[in-house]
C-alpha cells in the first residue's frame, strides 16, 4: 500500500504557491470577509449565551446530524449498483445512463421537492422517508461521479488475474477494489453529508414545519422572526460542527492512493449472467431519476383539471425568456470562473504539502457555509462605493462559484493525481519548464475532467436557489427563483408556467450533461489512439 502511495512526491512548488495565493485571495475576499462581517457586525457575546443555552438549539444540531448520517448511508446503498455498472463496464447507453443519473443533482431543490410532493402518496408527505428519499435523489450523482470516476481507473486485468489465482470475490474486493475507491467513497460521503446537513428546501417542503435543520432554522430566524444575531450564532455553530466532522472524516480515511498509469484502461463488458441484473439496475435508476421529471412535464400541461398546452405557448413571454437568459449568462460566467478557481485549488492541493491540505480542507468547508448566510454576507460586505456590487447580475455568479467549485475540486484532485511522475521527470530532462509541463502534461491529461467539472459548475449554478433568491439582481431572475415565484402565486395557468420552466430546466440540464458526456467520450477516444 505504501509502495503505491509514494509514487507522487511533491513537485516544484512554485506554481502551487501562486495558485494557493490566488485561491486564498478569492476565498478571503468572497467567503471569509462576508462571514466576518456578519459575525463582527451582528453578534454580541450575550447572543452566544442566549442561543447556546436554549435546548431547541441542541435539538436542531442533533436532528441535522442524524438525518444527514442516515441520508448518506441510504444514498451509498442505493447508488452502489449503478456506480458499479457505470464505473466498471462498457455497454451501449453507458454515457446516457451516467448523464441521466446526474440530473437529480442539478435540479433546483424547490422544484424537486415539489415534484416529490406530486409523486409520493399523501401519507408519506412530511415524513423522514420523504426527506431521505429526496436527499438520495440529489446525491446519487455525487457517488456516480466521484466514486465512479475512481472505479474507471481500476485495472480489470488485475481483478481477473486475482480471480484466476483463486481469490474469492470478497478477497478481490478487500485487496483490490476497496483500497482504490476508499478515498473517493469517503470524499463522496463527506460531500453528501455536508449537503444534507445544510439541507433547506427539502426539509421545509418535504419534512414539514415540525422538522428543522440548523440551516432552515437560520433562515427562519433571520427573515421570519428578524433575529439576525441568533441566526448568525447558529451559522457559526453549523460551521464549527462541519469543520469538526470533516476533521474526523479525514483522520478516519487516511491518505489517498496515488496511481501510476499512462493510458485509460478499457472497461469490461457486462457478462452474460450479469446482464439481467445490469438491465434491472439501469432501469430502476433511470426510473427513479426520471419519474419526478415526468411529473413536472405532466404538471406543465395541466391547466386546472384539463390538459392544455397553454402554458407552453407562453414560453416566449418576455419575463420567461428573460429568466432563461439570466440563468444562461449567470451559469456561463460561474462556470468559467469556477473552473479557474477549481483548477488553481487542485494545483495547490496536489503540489503543496501542509498548505495544500489546508486549502483542500478549506474547499470542503465552503460547502458548509450556508448559501443563505453567504448571500446575506456578500450583500452586506460589498456595499460601498466601487465595491457596491449588490445589484450586479454577475455578483450572483460569484456566489455560485463558491457554492459549486468544491465539487469540481473533488473531481479534479483524484484525476490529477493519476499523472505519472515519470512523465514530468522525462519532460524536465528534455528541458521543459515548469509552466510548459503544467500545460502540456497535467492540463492536457486533465481535459476530460475539466470539461466534466465545467458541466457540474454550470449545472449547480443553473439550479442554485438559496443565494440567488437572496441577492437582488437587475434584469431578470434566474430560472429557479422565477419558478419559486410562479409557484407562490394563485392561478392554474401561472402554476403550469412554473412547471414549464421547471421542465425546461430539467431538459436543458439533461441535454447539457449528454453533451458533456459525448465531448468527454470523443477526447477519451483520441487519447487512447
Amino acid at each position: 500500500m505504501n509502495r503505491v502511495a509514494m509514487s507522487q512526491p511533491v513537485l516544484h512548488p512554485t506554481l502551487g504557491r501562486v495558485a494557493a495565493l490566488v485561491v486564498a485571495l478569492w476565498l478571503g475576499v468572497f467567503l471569509v470577509a462576508p462571514v466576518l462581517t456578519m459575525t463582527v457586525g451582528f453578534v454580541q457575546p450575550a447572543d452566544f449565551l442566549r442561543v447556546l443555552t436554549r435546548s431547541s438549539t441542541w435539538q436542531l444540531v442533533w436532528f441535522s446530524l442524524w438525518q444527514s448520517a442516515l441520508s448518506v448511508a441510504v444514498t451509498l446503498v442505493v447508488a452502489a449498483p449503478v456506480t458499479w455498472l457505470i464505473g466498471l463496464h462498457h455497454f451501449r447507453g453507458r454515457r446516457l445512463l451516467r448523464a441521466v443519473s446526474t440530473v437529480g443533482f442539478l435540479l433546483p431543490s424547490v422544484v424537486v421537492a415539489t415534484a416529490f410532493l406530486a409523486v409520493l402518496p399523501r401519507s408519506l408527505h412530511y415524513t423522514m422517508f420523504a426527506v431521505v428519499i429526496a436527499h438520495v435523489y440529489f446525491n446519487i450523482a455525487v457517488v456516480v461521479r466521484v466514486v465512479g470516476a475512481r472505479l474507471e481507473l481500476l485495472d480489470v486485468q488485475l481483478m481477473n488475474a486475482a480471480r484466476t489465482l483463486g481469490a474469492s470475490p470478497t478477497v478481490v474486493w478487500r485487496t483490490i477494489v476497496w483500497p482504490l475507491i476508499r478515498g473517493a467513497t469517503v470524499a463522496a460521503a463527506a460531500v453528501i453529508f455536508l449537503y444534507c446537513f445544510s439541507s433547506f428546501a427539502v426539509i421545509r417542503v418535504l419534512g414539514g414545519p415540525r422538522r428543522s435543520t440548523l440551516e432552515s432554522d437560520i433562515a427562519l430566524r433571520a427573515f421570519g422572526i428578524g433575529d439576525i444575531s441568533a441566526a448568525t450564532v447558529l451559522a457559526l455553530v453549523q460551521l464549527v460542527i462541519v469543520v469538526g466532522v470533516i476533521g474526523v472524516v479525514r483522520r478516519l480515511s487516511g491518505r489517498e492512493h496515488g496511481l501510476s498509469r499512462l493510458a485509460t484502461l478499457p472497461l469490461t463488458t457486462v457478462m452474460h449472467r450479469q446482464r439481467l441484473f445490469a438491465i434491472g439496475v439501469a432501469g430502476a435508476t433511470a426510473t427513479f431519476v426520471l419519474l419526478p421529471i415526468a411529473a413536472l412535464l405532466w404538471r406543465s400541461v395541466q391547466v386546472g383539471d384539463a390538459s392544455s398546452l397553454a402554458a407552453w405557448r407562453t414560453v416566449f413571454d418576455t419575463s420567461l425568456t428573460a429568466s432563461i437568459r439570466a440563468s444562461a449568462r449567470t451559469a456561463l460566467l460561474a462556470g468559467v470562473l469556477g473552473v479557474a478557481l477549481a483548477v488553481l485549488t487542485t494545483l495547490a492541493v496536489v503540489r503543496l504539502g501542509t498548505i495544500g491540505r489546508l486549502i483542500d480542507m478549506l474547499s470542503i468547508v465552503v460547502l458548509a457555509v450556508s448559501p443563505v448566510t453567504l448571500g446575506l454576507g456578500l450583500v452586506l460586505t460589498f456595499d460601498v462605493g466601487w465595491f457596491d456590487w449588490r445589484a450586479q447580475w454577475w455578483f450572483v455568479a460569484v456566489a455560485h462559484t463558491l457554492v459549486a467549485f468544491p465539487l469540481a475540486v473533488r473531481v479534479l484532485v483524484p484525476a490529477w493525481r493519476t499523472t505519472p511522475i515519470g512523465l514530468h521527470q522525462a519532460a524536465a530532462v528534455l528541458g521543459a519548464g515548469e509552466l510548459r509541463r503544467l500545460v502540456d502534461i497535467d492540463l492536457r491529461r486533465m481535459r476530460p475532467a475539466i470539461v466534466a467539472s465545467l458541466g457540474l459548475i454550470v449545472a449547480v449554478s443553473l439550479g442554485e436557489f438559496g443565494a440567488a433568491s437572496l441577492m437582488s439582481r437587475a434584469g431578470g431572475e434566474t430560472m429557479p427563483v422565477m419558478i419559486a415565484r410562479l409557484l407562490s402565486r394563485t392561478g392554474d395557468l401561472v402554476r403550469a408556467q412554473a412547471f414549464v420552466l421547471a421542465s425546461l430546466l430539467a431538459v436543458v440540464c439533461i441535454a447539457a450533461l449528454v453533451l458533456v458526456e459525448f465531448a468527454l467520450g470523443k477526447s477519451d477516444h483520441v487519447a487512447r489512439r
Binding site: 431547541s56 410532493l117 399523501r122 408527505h125 412530511y126 421545509r204 417542503v205 414539514g208 414545519p209 415540525r210 427562519l220 433571520a222 427573515f223 421570519g224 422572526i225 428578524g226 433575529d227 439576525i228 391547466v303 384539463a306 392544455s308 397553454a310 418576455t318 419575463s319 460566467l333 468559467v336 470562473l337 479557474a340 446575506l376 450583500v379 452586506l380 456595499d383 460601498v384 466601487w386 456590487w389 445589484a391 450586479q392 454577475w394 510548459r436 500545460v439 502540456d440 492540463l443 433568491s469 437572496l470 441577492m471 437582488s472 439582481r473 437587475a474 431572475e477 427563483v481 419559486a484 415565484r485 409557484l487 407562490s488 402565486r489 394563485t490 392561478g491 392554474d492 395557468l493 401561472v494
Partner: protein, 355 residues
C-alpha cells in the same frame, strides 16, 4: 494546446474585466448629473406590475426605473434594515403592516408626504402619519372554502374562527406556517386579534381538531385544498382575492368562482412604499412615490397582483369586483404592537403547534 489554454486564461481575465467595467459604468450612470437618472426600485418577488408601466413614468419625468426584485417581504425588510442608511436602491416597495415597525425603528426611510395623500385610504395613511412610508395597496387574508365540497355534503361552511373549533370541521382546515409564510402570519394575527390572550387556547383546540400546518401558502393551496388540488382539505387560509384569481386565470373562465371567503375571519394587510434613507436622488424618488399611488399605477394593481388599490379614486375592473370580497370590518393589530410581540408570539406558536 498551449495556445488554447492561454486563450482560456485570457477569456477568464476578459470576463472578469468586463464584469468590473460594466459594474463601474452602471455606477456612473446613476450618479452622473448629465445623463438621465435611473432610480432603483427594490421589491419582493410578488411585485409583478404590467412590465411596460414604468415607461409612462419615464416619458413624463425623464427618469428611468430599474426594478430589482429579491425574495419575500420579510427578507426584503430584513435586508433593508441591515443596510439602513446605505441602501441598495432608492425606493422600496412591499413592507407590510406586520413588518412596518421593524423598518421604522431602524430608520430605514426618509419621510415624504405624497401629493395624492388626500385620495388615499385614511386608515392606512394613519399607520404612518409622518409619511415615513406611503401606503400603496391592501388585501385580506381569510379562510377560503370549496363551495362544491360543502354543498355536496350539505354542511354549512364555517363563518367565524370560533366555529372552526366545532367537530364538524375536524380534519378540514389547512394553513401555512406563520413562522415561514406571510399569509400564515396574518392568520395567526387574526386569531390573536379575535381572541386576545385566549389565542393559544384556540390553537390548542385546533390541534385536537387536527388542523394541518404546512410550510408555504402554495403547499397549502395547491397541495391540500380540495378546490385547487387532489387534496382532502376543503378549508384553506388564503387571500380574499383568491376567488377572482381562480376565475380569471382559468381557461375557459367559469361563470362562478369555485371558492368563497369567510368574511369574518379576515385579517387586513397593507403594503407600503418608501424612499430609502441614503438615496442620492431624493427629489426624483418623491416623483416615483407619487407615480406609485397615482390612478394610473393603482388601476393596474388588481389584475396583476390581486390586491386592492389604496387610492380611492382608482377604479377597479369589473371582473375583479364581481368575484373579490372586501370584508367590512376586518381584524387588525397595530404595527407597533406586532413589532413588539411578534417574535414572542411566534416562539409560543412553535411551542404549542410545532414541537
Amino acid at each position: 494546446m498551449k495556445i488554447r489554454s492561454l486563450l482560456i486564461g485570457l477569456a477568464t481575465a476578459g470576463t472578469l474585466l468586463a464584469a468590473c467595467t460594466s459594474g463601474s459604468t452602471n455606477d456612473v450612470a446613476v450618479t452622473t448629473n448629465d445623463g438621465p437618472i435611473t432610480l432603483r426600485l427594490l421589491a419582493h418577488e410578488s411585485f409583478t406590475p404590467t412590465e411596460t408601466i414604468f415607461d409612462d413614468f419615464t416619458l413624463q419625468t425623464g427618469i428611468k426605473v430599474e426594478l430589482v426584485r429579491s425574495s419575500d417581504a420579510g427578507t426584503l425588510v430584513t435586508k433593508a434594515v441591515l443596510a439602513s442608511g446605505n441602501p441598495e436602491g432608492d425606493v422600496l416597495w412591499g413592507v407590510d403592516n406586520t413588518l412596518l415597525s421593524r423598518a421604522l425603528d431602524a430608520d430605514v426611510f426618509v419621510p415624504y408626504v405624497t401629493v395624492h395623500r388626500d385620495d388615499l385610504d385614511a386608515v392606512a395613511v394613519a399607520l404612518a402619519p409622518d409619511g415615513a412610508v406611503t401606503p400603496v395597496d391592501s388585501g385580506d387574508v381569510c379562510i377560503n372554502y370549496d363551495k362544491a365540497w360543502f354543498a355536496e355534503r350539505n354542511i354549512t361552511p364555517p363563518l367565524t374562527l370560533q366555529a372552526l373549533t366545532s367537530s364538524t370541521y375536524r380534519n378540514l382546515l389547512v394553513t401555512p406556517n406563520p413562522v415561514s409564510s406571510s399569509p400564515g402570519l396574518a392568520f395567526l394575527l387574526a386569531t390573536i386579534a379575535e381572541f386576545g390572550d385566549g389565542w393559544q387556547q384556540w390553537w390548542e383546540t385546533m390541534r385536537t381538531n387536527n388542523i394541518l400546518i404546512v410550510e408555504s401558502w402554495s403547499d397549502a393551496y395547491y397541495g391540500h385544498f380540495t378546490a385547487a388540488s387532489d387534496g382532502e382539505r376543503p378549508l384553506v387560509v388564503s387571500y380574499a382575492t383568491s376567488p377572482p384569481a381562480e376565475v380569471l386565470f382559468a381557461d375557459p373562465r367559469p361563470t362562478q368562482a369555485p371558492t368563497a371567503v369567510a368574511a369574518l375571519t379576515c385579517f387586513r394587510q397593507y403594503e407600503f412604499a418608501g424612499i430609502l434613507r441614503g438615496t442620492k436622488h431624493e427629489p426624483q424618488a418623491q416623483l416615483l412615490i407619487d407615480f406609485l399611488v397615482s390612478r394610473q399605477f393603482q388601476e393596474d394593481l388588481p389584475l396583476t397582483q390581486f390586491v386592492w388599490p389604496i387610492n380611492n379614486k382608482a377604479s377597479v375592473p369589473k371582473e375583479f369586483l364581481d368575484y373579490a370580497l372586501r370584508p367590512e370590518n376586518p381584524l387588525t393589530i397595530g404595527p407597533a404592537i406586532i413589532a413588539q410581540r411578534r417574535a414572542e408570539w411566534l416562539e409560543q406558536f412553535s411551542d404549542i403547534m410545532l414541537r
